[in-house]
Each structure stands twice: as structure tokens, then as C-alpha cells.
Subunit: 181 residues, 4 copies
């Protein structure tokens, strides 16, 4: 059985203190559940905070790196995936995550939410303004869950995974990427 990979997406250098605090909570909670954390892999902001706490809580950490080497990688990444494809790797981040938690917002994170919804991946928005939440809910109300704490984000992930295991929700095996834009 493949591990259950949960993605945490968020800003690097522009992350807020609140984003970073929530990311640290997410990393710990994901590791304690026995899930595997996936981030963009860099040693900055949300990626670094989530990776550090997941690793220190005994978890396994995947980093999907944008560059050609491990330069700038978080030292808490166990599995560095070197893509060399810049922001196009954002699509790999979301395709590889059973559920995507967006922790804070920025241009890169916005692209990841869009790509996740396009590929029919469930997205949990953590710490979003009402306006931003409403915008993403308007893109796909079924796939987007809005929460305001890391604990609630993990509950939302758990609920999605349980529904899927119970057969109450079916993940599309072939996303509509070749059909709609």
C-alpha cells in the first residue's frame, strides 16, 4: 500500500508569521496521523515550517523542488524530488497529494489551488480571507473546504479520506485536464 501523501502549499519568503505557525502545527499533526507530508521543498516559509515539525514528529517529508539541484532545500526533507521545471512543478505537487492544504496565499499558492481543482483534487483553505475563500469556492464548491485552524484542516482531510475509503466519494482516475481549461 502506498503511503497517504498530504500536500501543504504556501508561501516561501513572503509567508506571514501566522502562516508559519499554522504550517508548523500542520506538519506535526500530519506526521502523528502517519501520513506523509509533501511540500515544495524549499527552506523558507510554510514549506520549511511544515517540514521541520513533521520531521521532528517522526514523519516522512517529500520535497518537490523547482530547481536542478538540492540548493535551497529544507534540511528536513527526506525525499528530494528534483524537477528542474520551476513553477510547472506545482502541478506535480497537487497531483501527488491525496488532499491539498493551502496555508496562506501568494501567486504560487493560487496557481496550486487552481491546478488542484482542475485535476479534481480536494483542497482545504486555511487562514483565508472571506473574499479569497469565496472566490475559490466559486470555482468548485464541492472540492473546496474552508477552515480557520490547523486542527480543523486535519479534521477536514480525515473526513475526505474516510468518505473515500467508505466509497462515499470517488476520486476521478482521469482528470479532465485534456478536456477543459
Amino acid at each position: 500500500m502506498a503511503r497517504t501523501i498530504i500536500g501543504v502549499m504556501g508561501a516561501g519568503d513572503n509567508a506571514t508569521a501566522a502562516d508559519i505557525e499554522r504550517a508548523a502545527e500542520l506538519g506535526e499533526l500530519i506526521a502523528r496521523r502517519g501520513w506523509t507530508l509533501l511540500t515544495g521543498g524549499r527552506n523558507a516559509g510554510v514549506m520549511q515550517a511544515a517540514s521541520k515539525s513533521a520531521k521532528e514528529s517522526g514523519g516522512l517529508v517529500i520535497g518537490i523542488l523547482p530547481g536542478n539541484s538540492t540548493d535551497g532545500m529544507s534540511e528536513f526533507v527526506d525525499i528530494p524530488i528534483i524537477t528542474g521545471m520551476g513553477s510547472a512543478r506545482n502541478n506535480i505537487n497537487v497531483l501527488s497529494s491525496k488532499v491539498v492544504i493551502a496555508c496562506g496565499i501568494g501567486a504560487g499558492t493560487a496557481s496550486e489551488i487552481g491546478l488542484a481543482l482542475k485535476a479534481k483534487r480536494p483542497v482545504v483553505l486555511l487562514g483565508y480571507s472571506r473574499e479569497a475563500s469565496e472566490f475559490f469556492v466559486s470555482l468548485n464548491s464541492e472540492l473546496v473546504t474552508v477552515v480557520s485552524s490547523a486542527v480543523d484542516a486535519i479534521e477536514a482531510v480525515l473526513s475526505i479520506l474516510e468518505k473515500e475509503i467508505a466509497g462515499e466519494w470517488k476520486r476521478p482516475t482521469r482528470p479532465a485536464s485534456s478536456k477543459t481549461d
Copy 2:
């Protein structure tokens, strides 16, 4: 001198009638300016409408296709670029466009706006609700222009290109993609 490539991004099968009408206007105006149109290349929605009108107005049309072949391609595409990489090709769409015009909204288009802002490409939003406009302006107020007609979108593109030629605005040669997420 390389051609001036202007990207028009928008929904395929879920495009609204208003989006499609505006896309047709954009295609014609882009062709008449002597610019080259770039879209996601599919024979649906905004991509099809913009490609058709650009082609019929004597323009050159590039299609950046998500699949492994030209299946489903607009018959008005002159230059099919076959990427075989699904929605990750959205990053190529925006990197290759001098200016990105987003015509209507959907998950894929939202990802393209995010990727464009991440790569420091100027984005013109056409036909957006106040809420959606404000969200994207909040991500990068310098790079986002909000307009309500195709004519105004083309004026905005022209203004950006003229500022760049005059040296009043400088396009970053190395986007921050390896630095922030």
C-alpha cells in the same frame, strides 16, 4: 526580431457566451495589431473563439496543447506545440506570452493567472467580478490590470508594451520562481 506573442487564457467547455464573444473580439484585435496569438490550443470555448477570429483576420495562431497529439486541437491553430504534460503546460502558456489576457474564469485560468504573477508576467483581467478582480490585484497590484471590454484589454496590452519599449518598465529576465512559492 521575435514576434510579439500575446496570450489569451480562458475556459474551454465551460466558457460563457460573454467570454466567447470577448475572445472573438480579442483574437481579431490581436491579429490586426500584428501580434501573434497564443492559447491553450483546444477547439473549445475561449481558445477556439480567439483562434478562429485571429486566423480569419490574417493573424498567426500558436496552440500550446496539453495532450500527446493534435487530437481536439482548434482547426485555426497554425503552430501546434504538443507538450504531453497536461495542465503543467499552463506555465509555458504564461512564460511565452509578453502579456496574458485572462478572458473569463475557471480553475485552469486561475492557475494561469497565479503562474503568470509568479513569473512576473503582466496580466489583464477581462470580464471579472469585483471580488475576483480584488483577489488577484491583492496578489500583485503592479502586474494586474482590470478591464471590462476587449478594446480596453488591447489598450492595456499596448500600454504595457510601449512602457517596456520606452524603458519605463523592465521585464525581469530571471523570474523569482526558484526563490518564492
Copy 3:
């Protein structure tokens, strides 16, 4: 009708004088046929020589660039496609070419021949040693043609295109990329 795109692949900085001479001939012959040239877009070696001669012979030139900008691009490229994905763009080079002409050899070119054969694209080898030719023919004898002059390379391309138009050869619409490695 989309243009007929012919790819010319070959070394950049390590191209030999013979490779560069052949690339210049290829560019001219491709342009005179009314085909569109596709290369990796850089201002070096085979890419530069083919682009220059195609452009000077009135042809249209596509450059599929590995970086995030047009830095290092051949000044003879009309259509710069900026991929930002390094050598992974080699797959786009071959998917987008009706026929791939490999002009000289190097690590990048070897990867393009492999990717082309994997995607069932016809490949013409120009100026290869007997050993290298035999190696690639052993990978797929049906798709590989070995020639020793630019004129013969163009004849081989013409023959492939004519067979395809005549229905004597059918291009797979769905390459086996998801089935074999």
C-alpha cells in the same frame, strides 16, 4: 491547416564544424519547402545555424527554450516558446515535430532521439557513425532512417510525409508513453 513542423536537433556549444554546415543546409531546405523549422532555440551550434539559414531563406522559425526567458536565444527565432523546464523540454521538441532530424550527436540529442522513438515520431539521423546508427536502428528499425547529407535528410522527410498523406503510414495518435518505458 496547421503548418508542417520539422525539428532539427543537435548540439549547442559542442557542435562540430560539419554538424553546423549540415544544419545550415537543413534550415535552408526546410524553409524552401515551406515547412516550419523547430529547434531548441539557443544561439549556439546546430540550433543557431539551422535557424539563421531558415530565416534568411524566408522560413518561419520556432525555438523551444529551456530557460525562463529569451536570454541566450537565437536572434533568428520568430516564435520563442519559453518552457522554463530545462531538458524536459526535449520531449516537447520531438512531440511537436512531424519528423525529427538529428544532426550530430551529444547527450541532449541522444535523449531527443530516445524520446522521439518512445513517442513514435520518425527520426532521420544525419552524419552518424555506423556504431551510433546501428544502436538507434536497433531501438526501432521502422522509425529510424540513416542518411549522410542534408539533401538526403530532406528527401527522407518528404518521403515520410508523402507516405503519411497517402495513407501508407499512420502516425499513432496516442503514443505508448503511458505503457512502456
Copy 4:
């Protein structure tokens, strides 16, 4: 400290019985060394055999999948990375591997060897004909090692890693992918 990832590349459906036997040996030896196995992730040929034996020997297995889902994935993959980018994912395979072992040959594997050498990754060729070995050695004699058994392949990997740790060999942090083709 990130895990030491060793890639095993080889054919899927067209793998020979000898390739599959060697792949099974490689998987076991990689796992016993405490290294992490990376393959193309499919449930066929070399990928399946290496993944199965690594997993059964207590190792961790990464699969870099070409499609949009886990359909067709080896059941022995622990970490499925879903790329949705077809054969362009071959570049991720080699960038993410400290050393690439090519076990048998095919079009996809040939592309991976080319991409590895382009990115300056060491490659160990296992079970290659003299002609094929000579061809790849001619592309980069420093980076290619030719062996004839799985045990020797693992010894070659060990030697490369030890030289790197001892500072006798330095891995380029910035591959020349943007400079040469």
C-alpha cells in the same frame, strides 16, 4: 539528511527475462544498503521487479509516474509521485537520482541515459552490448561505468558515492542544461 536515492531505469513491457532478473537483484541490494529506490513506478518489467524486491527487502520505493493517477502503478511503490507529463518525467527520474543504473535498453531508457549525462548524473550501464556501451561511453566517458552484474553495479554506485563523500568527485550544483544541447 535526505535519503540516498538510487534510480533504476529500464524497459516496462519489453524488458527481457535477464533484465528482470537483474532488476530484482538491484532492488534487493539497494534496499539492504539502506538506499532508497527510484523507478518510473509502473507495474511492468524492470520497474516492477526492482520495486518488488526492494520492498520485500525492507526498502523504501519511490515511483515517478507518467500519468495523471496511480493507474498502472506497481503495488510495491511507497511514494507515488504523479507527474502527468508522460516521458518528460524521465528528466525528473535522473535529476532525482544520485546515481542512475540503466538495466537493459529501450527508447525510454536511452532517453534517460542521455538526460542523465546532460545533467551530469553518473550512469551505470548493466547488461549492455559492447556497441551500446561504446556509444554511451563516447558521449561522456567520465560519467559512464559499464558493468555486467547487479553486484558490480552496486559496487560502482558505492564507489561513486564514496568518492563524492571523500571530496574526490564533485557533483555539479548547476547542470549545463541551460547552456548546451
